[in-house]
């Protein structure tokens, strides 16, 4: 039989292009899994639902999906939506025993989701914001040129977490660094970032740290370029759709990116290359949501182990599961359902076809892996008290 997976994310609006790429990634990996029969029988199918980045709509869609008999929910864009879904899924499972849902979260990285608010039915395949910030600041701290740091983030839980954590970590690691700005702007609403750009310019910052994603980052970078901002950008999401084009040559050597995967990391396994090329060939687009690979791999493995697609069994199997992903061996930590995986810091540089094989959005620029932080080092403790159904 086929196991349906509901992909609930924005497919329209400013973040639409982002969601579209992510949906394609999931569908593509699902196809790969089906061809190579990762599940040992059942086929995987990913169905897209457009939530316009709205938590409320997401819950309606959640019910709609459940009514269609879909038991696996995938979402990533926005911790705002993510947290609402996490609640809703656990409520749903309480009320509909025997019809449980599982929420596979590939990008909503507010740490609360795997700490204070952690839930048994939620699995986080991205590294949470705090883990990323730790790594980022450690790396940044090594650079003596960094004197003035400017923080600009989206005005919601995730953005606030980035800002808070950055300040805390920097104080800890480089007390001498001065925070010259700490801005929050509405999520996915700002059309004209030039005021922010000139503000950054005026602050004289040499480094900008931002958790912005999608259009919010693309426009920010574009505006900064126009305003002649020359600071280095330490970002969470520079590879997301639209941003590479916006950066172009101007961003070269200036933009850095903290993630769980570098397309041009020397030690990447061979199937990584196949997937990149295959994806490019099918959709003429870049594959960067690598979490989709990890998630589908683990889901398939769980289905295979338990010989069933029953969420209850699958959830149980997922706890503490280890698997080989494109970024090495990863583990779904049982304590908080937070995936433990290596973190990668890369820089935007000219692609040369060999070391920097993969460019993005045909800009001729791509990501050079500067440092890889092994899973153990990237790991953080959790405050989660997981309530498990018995």
């Amino acid at each position: 039989e086929t196991v349906k997976i509901a992909f609930i994310d924005p497919l329209s609006g400013l973040m639409g292009s982002l969601g579209a790429n992510e949906l394609k990634s999931w569908q593509y990996i699902a196809d790969v899994a089906n061809q190579q029969d990762w599940t040992g029988g059942p086929k995987l199918e990913v169905v897209g639902f457009d939530n316009n980045l709205s938590p409320q709509q997401s819950l309606t869609l959640l019910n709609e999906a459940a009514d269609q008999g879909i038991r696996y929910i995938v979402q990533g864009n926005g911790s705002s939506v993510g947290m609402a879904l996490e609640d809703a899924v656990s409520r749903y499972n309480e009320r509909n025993p025997g019809k449980e849902l599982i929420y596979l979260n590939y990008a909503a990285v507010d740490p609360a989701m795997t700490n204070a608010k952690c839930d048994y039915w939620h699995f986080a395949f991205d590294a949470n914001s705090d883990m990323k910030m730790e790594a980022l600041t450690t790396f940044l701290a090594k650079d003596p040129h960094v004197k003035k740091v400017y923080l600009i983030n989206q005005d919601y839980s995730f953005g606030h977490d980035v800002s808070a954590k950055a300040q805390e970590a920097l104080k800890r690691k480089r007390a001498d660094i001065e925070i010259v700005g700490d801005d929050f702007h509405p999520l996915a609403k700002v059309k004209d970032f030039s005021p922010y750009a000139s503000k950054i310019k005026a602050s004289g910052a040499d480094t900008v740290i931002t958790g912005n994603w999608g259009s919010d980052l693309a426009l920010l970078v574009k505006a900064s370029k126009d305003a002649g901002v020359t600071a280095n950008y330490y970002t969470y999401y520079a590879p997301t759709t639209g941003v590479p084009t916006a950066m172009g040559a101007a961003g070269a050597e200036h933009v850095k990116y903290i993630g769980y995967f570098g397309p041009n990391t020397p030690g990447n396994p061979p199937q990584a290359a196949q997937i990149f090329d295959g994806f490019k060939k099918k959709y003429n687009d870049d594959f960067y949501v690598m979490a989709s690979y990890t998630a589908i791999a683990m889901l398939s493995q769980a289905i295979k182990q338990t010989h069933s697609a029953d969420p209850v069994k699958v959830a149980h199997a997922l706890e503490g599961m280890k698997t080989q992903s494109l970024n090495g061996t990863v583990e779904m930590r049982a304590a908080d359902h937070q995936l433990q995986q290596p973190l990668v810091i890369s820089t935007w540089v000219k692609a040369d076809g060999k070391d920097i094989k993969y460019d993005q959005e045909g800009t001729g620029y791509g990501w050079r892996t500067d440092a890889v932080l092994p899973a153990a080092a990237a790991s953080l403790p959790t405050t989660c008290q997981m309530k498990r159904p018995q």
């Binding site: 503000k199 426009l219 002649g228």
Partner: protein, 315 residues
């Protein structure tokens, strides 16, 4: 200082674009008494047409052709839509344009998809125009200002040198009498509506690539344009002009100010802590409330002076 100059320029260029956009709405309202909710949709159409044309034959032709296309759309809408609804009164007209906005947005999604389209600034206009100390001012922004000002001039001439302006004002109160003097009011209606649409379209052409060209662009500028028109005074071009600049600057500068009431209190030795009553309110910095300011301005204006800055009549 440097920051101030740049922000000033940004504010003005944005304000001028707003004016280009709202002038059309004001025109339509002042003549036909129609609050055109679909106005921003014409802005969007302008952007998308330009994107399509620029893709084929370049930006400069698009700059001319796209607005012309919008004119046609506007004329058709007036002829086959508004005119039918006219007899049911202004509410019906307003609701018609209200529904029209939905339609145009969907049509655009159909034609160009739901995601943002890559409508780019032409290379010859890309890059910095001049430096203010170390900051740069992009060519394109200057170009936007130029076009807006030219349009403003052209419009001023048409409205003052020709009788259209007079016919417009007269027909608003005594349409039948104007006809009795031999003016084809209906045709002027169509002209004005199409013309107003064209202005919005032009704004779209030059605004679409400066900012974002997406199906959501209409709804995002839609309300701000209304703010401009209301603050400026319904049907007053001069008012719209002032209001546009006002709001352009307001939005640009508000972002820059991080001060909050809490800071103000601190001046007087009153310190707000997270335990203080309504602390979150006092802690709000001006830059955070930037998005609300225009609407605040509008509401206040409507209460203290419903005619708006230079409006001649209410509603």
């Amino acid at each position: 200082m440097e920051f101030f100059t740049i922000s000033l320029l940004n504010g003005i260029s944005y304000g001028l674009l707003l004016f280009l956009l709202s002038s059309g709405l004001t025109l339509i309202f002042s003549m036909m008494g129609v609050l055109n909710f679909a106005h921003a949709s014409f802005y969007m159409l302008g952007a998308y047409f330009a994107y399509a044309i620029a893709g084929k034959i370049g930006f400069w032709p698009a700059l001319v052709i796209a607005p012309c296309l919008v004119v046609c759309v506007g004329a058709l809408v007036e002829r086959f839509g508004l005119r039918t609804v006219h007899k049911y009164g202004h509410v019906a007209e307003l609701l018609f344009t209200f529904g029209l906005a939905y339609l145009i947005e969907e049509a655009v999604k159909l034609a160009w998809g739901q995601a943002v389209v890559p409508y780019r600034i032409p290379p010859e206009l890309d890059g910095p125009l001049f430096h203010v100390f170390t900051s740069t001012f992009p060519k394109y922004r200057a170009f936007m200002m130029l076009v807006s000002v030219l349009m403003l001039g052209a419009m001023y001439v048409t409205l003052t040198r020709t009788r259209i302006g007079l016919v417009i004002q007269a027909a608003l109160t005594h349409p039948q009498m104007v006809e009795a003097l031999g003016h084809n009011v209906q045709r002027v209606f169509m002209l004005v509506f199409a013309g107003g649409a064209a202005l919005a379209g032009l704004a779209g052409v030059i605004g679409g690539n400066a900012f974002v060209t997406a199906p959501s662009m209409a709804s995002s500028v839609g309300t701000i344009v209304f703010v401009v028109v209301v603050v400026g005074g319904m049907g007053s071009l001069g008012g719209a002009f002032i209001a546009s600049l006002l709001i352009g600057l307001l939005q640009t500068f508000a972002v820059a100010i991080d001060a909050s009431l809490a800071d103000l209190f601190a001046r007087f030795g009153v310190h707000v802590t997270s335990t203080t009553l309504l602390s979150s309110v006092w802690k709000l910095s001006v830059s955070q409330i930037a998005p609300v300011l225009p609407y605040l301005l509008m509401v206040v204006m409507l209460i203290v002076r419903p005619r708006g800055l230079m409006g001649t009549r209410e509603g």
